[in-house]
Symmetry: D2
Subunit: 360 residues, 4 copies
């Protein structure tokens, strides 16, 4: 097996032209694409319609190229659009191709697998049901990626739902109580529960520790490898598991670590050090989480992110962490997503690097 | 002579308590304070009233402590409030004390001097009149700082005015045409003209190159040492010149360099290398400029800062550069101000570091 | 007794010049001023510093004119600054003077009284303690206004605190649990508890109905005469009770009604009809509450106010109701404040008009 | 001939379900649809992608139903999405069907015609070329609508382009100078030039008065019947001309007037009075323009719309005028679009009402 990762700049959320060109020219085989992660230029919060626009444009492209309906495309490709490219972050997409070809190397290479949960009812968002369904889907995706050992999973990227006023009302009409009626807050609950599902699947926490009440409250419980991103445009979790496994060609490889706080740029170095093999290669993708520390401090200095009513906290956090990581790596096409509830420690978050070996 | 720089965190724009405590306890001599630079937590754009609130609170404090009227305080202390602490930037003030005491060292130390231009008419903002008045005031401030050689000036921090609808209307009634009627854009014109005034004073450009039309158009003309910040709360330029000069004690020293672009964190290292002496010391203050590159790219990757109608471009830029520099220095109490027109090259800007030698 | 109400446009939050002129010229007696309500041009949410700037400027003015300390001024004058002048709303202040002079008329006239609660601990905000303290202060203010009958109270304007990250942390360190750690949401809790305090004092609800859990949940409980506005710049409630009472001169009078929803402009007509006497007079002040309906609908049509992550819901609501009422009255200097939790029915709110009789 | 206008609420920018239902059930004949106007819930400024999302969803719907390519759909249906539903405005679409059937009445009825200009080069936006091309297209659309007399045109709705950083750069590379490099400002230039094109076509101004320099400067030149709305998603003008003409069935009719300022709700009454016939009927659609008055005043009171760096001026204006008109009409599904440059007098704008006669 072999996973190839292709990064394309986008000129707008519905700009699929570089990807179309690659498909037309045979650089990418549409039938082998299992997931596309995208950073789109909306506000990354509740009313961010760039995610839906990007998803629609990509769906239509693959629908056309594969000769399938939109629904069929949605079932074969996980489209994980994360909104918010604040500060210097550059909008782009990462296309994951998985090919069935013999590995040319013996060292482990990038393994990728996708799975979806069933659709959630509004009242399941941010609760145990979402945690368990996510854990189940993570194990399915690991199986599809041929990853047998939990420790070989390096990064789990999840797209999860959020609650709108309409969805809350619908639940209320059925007599069901949602985790929160605040739509912006629902994103935190959904991200958090999804991350706890990853932690559960990978053995990072004990099942007994998990209860509804833990979500967005017991921040001592977290996954060091989950990256969850909420959006209005879906009602299920879409999960992409990435790791290194034997039997997968090592042209592309992944490493990860955890940012201890928003300024921990050394996490890039530590993550690169954990890429198997000799470490030679160019950085194809960097995925990280960003959130404001809950105590309002960064290394003892006050930050204003929680108290700004004009710019939401996750937007500030993406801009900050984007700057920290761009300053270290020298480039801005970084997949930084906001809201790291139960993803790494408070104020920090998991970080993964995918490298492309010049000689595989 | 000796300049001392004191940095205080602020809990709110009108929080003067740590400074009050230092004045009460004798840690700072109110009569020797010549300037206070502050990063306040407003939007840093037109309707940022945190700058006025901070200025008022500081004015009242010194009025009370010195037994002077507000107007008298305003004439002795340059209050340079720069709004905008986006991302992880931490609100703080930098208090500059200048004491008449013999230098304990022979190596040059931090020299500081303040000067004000006369008040401008609205139609002078962003034009040759503001350039020339600024150059004049820079030379006055250099003289007060005892800095004889242009090259010993390391950083010139300027607070300049902006145009409001009301000020534009007032000029129109007199038949005078302002540089622009767009209030946000007027900040750029004012910052730019002020920076060109610094470049003129320091011999960084030739007088013949300066015309009204150059302001905010000929970006090849710039100062590598100006940092200008606009606000609604004044109609004159207030100028603080900082450098190293013989006869000034070397307990505090300054170095500077220029960020080539928004990601150029190495500018910190280069600036520290240019601090005279053996370089030992703690970083007391870091002052930098931030702006989005005009061509919409950062090292070849698209940024969205100019096209975001929800968050102004200078806000994005401060968050980005704040992250880049905080990631390098490990702390967030950085004086990053937005809008670097004619301050360093497009997308970059001047950067200064003030160090405190543990052994002077 | 006689209450006079003076309205002044403000050119900025710290513009006190028209008021200063009136004080200098004797048009207003500084010693008789008991309250100033202001609409300032900040975002009206957590990080709105225009309220503090306005309060500071007004405090200094009266401190100077009365020869008193700032603290003494704060104890004699309730300064109720409400942020947010979205849409067409025009920044202004309303100055309330209460003079001891015989009423020239027998019909009831505008009666005004002020009272303050003690400062609250963070954990009291949004809870029964705040409700009860408010009710107590309302009764004190009624007594000072000489209003004996509950039904003669037409409008109770309250300024109340909010919770910042710092205040929440402080309580947490003492082991106390706050009503919410979300600073924006704390404004709702504080406004709501304050409004319930008014309802309790005026007999609009039964004490048995009031529990901590009711605040911001049981919206069937509300006052038809409370208008509460939260800010960061105080930790107590400041209360102004307005009504009509015998013994007060009828040159100024008040009437009120309740907007059934955001479009109910007829509430102005109904309120004017409830002004005692023959109704002749000019409209000096109009005070109203604005909030987005919780069910996301206005007369059956969806609104987006709760789902907009770029502009907070109360900002949208003020702009909307400001437009509805400005379209009806023909002018924009309206005291529209946001967040009507427990103030009128969901999506609507109390509305009061103060008229100035041309012949008293 | 007969024009029918159908209004549908939308639950999201890509919600086409009510329209799909009407097409499936035969309530609307897809082949007769000539235009769809939509109010979508983005920021209505530069980075508003809800317009593109809505356009894409509608294009796909008609592509599927008509069995045509997207490009073919785009040529037969004018899709005019206007972003921004601030305050209480409710997202909705207005679908215009034109059927070839004999008029059942002799009085004039709603006539509708669509035309497109060719695509513009960036340097043509906001200039004479755009004015002339628009005038030409307005005359073509009038011809298609069978409207012979200029005075029978009641409303011309136009969708026009804007300039992005990328489009400005592209022109610069060809040595062409754009009207402005500020993307938000380019919307004003584009709207203004388009409105002047309407004025030219309808004889509201003289050709000699039109020069590049007049656009967004000589505001005394304006159309009383143009409504122009800019977006990123197209590079040509799409024009819908609406009027009353003989030979068109009078089941639907239109009237118009001009709001003299933002508070002029009486314009609704005046417009209804100008609907031909006996006036009986329900209000199906109301279309209006909103902008902040340039002098910063509304009936003598200051507004803050031009000086708010957190919320763009057109957003404030839509919220305000939306409130004024919703307060008058009692409903919020109003087509209020922002930016009324050369559309009606400063601070006001054209307003049209479309009525549905209960008895034709």
């Amino acid at each position: 097996m072999k996973t190839r990762v292709h990064r394309f700049a986008t000129a707008a959320p519905d700009d699929v032209s570089p990807l179309r060109r690659a498909l037309d020219e045979g650089g990418i085989n549409a039938e082998k694409v299992i997931a596309i992660l995208g950073k789109t230029e909306g506000n990354g919060c509740v009313n961010d319609f760039t995610r839906a626009l990007s998803t629609l444009a990509l769906t239509r492209l693959f629908s056309e190229v594969l000769g399938l309906s939109d629904e069929a495309v949605a079932e074969r490709i996980a489209l994980v659009m994360s909104g918010g490219t604040e500060g210097g972050l550059s909008p782009h997409i990462l296309v994951f191709e998985v090919m069935d070809e013999p590995a040319l190397s013996t060292s482990p290479g990038l393994a990728a697998g996708v799975a979806f949960t069933p659709s959630f009812l509004p009242e399941q968002i941010g609760r145990r049901a979402q945690i368990d369904a996510t854990a189940q889907a993570v194990r399915e995706a690991m199986a599809r990626a041929g990853i047998e050992r939990d420790e070989d999973v390096h990064f789990v990227q999840i797209k999860c739902p959020l609650l709108t006023s309409a969805r809350c009302d619908e639940a209320a009409r059925r007599g069901a109580a949602v985790a929160t009626t605040d739509t912006y807050e629902s994103m935190a609950y959904s991200r958090g529960a999804s991350a706890l599902g990853v932690a559960l699947a990978l053995g990072e926490i004990e099942p007994a520790q998990l209860r509804d009440a833990a979500v967005c409250h017991e921040f001592g419980l977290y996954s060091g490898r989950a990256s969850t991103s909420a959006g209005i445009e879906l009602m299920r979790n879409e999960i992409l598991v990435l790791g290194n496994a034997p039997g997968w060609d090592a042209e592309f490889r992944i490493g990860h670590d955890v940012m201890a706080d928003a300024l921990d740029a050394d996490a890039v170095t530590r993550a690169l050090a954990r890429v198997p093999g000799d470490g030679a290669g160019e950085l194809v993708a960097l995925l990280a989480k960003a959130e404001p520390s809950r105590n309002g401090l960064i290394r003892g200095h006050r930050h204003i992110m929680w108290d700004d009513s004009d710019i939401n906290a996750t937007r500030h956090a993406r801009a900050l962490v984007g700057g920290v990581l761009a300053g270290r790596t020298g480039h801005t096409a970084l997949f930084v997503s906001g809201g790291a509830e139960h993803q790494g420690p408070d104020g920090g978050g998991p970080l993964a690097v995918i490298t492309h070996a010049l000689i595989s």
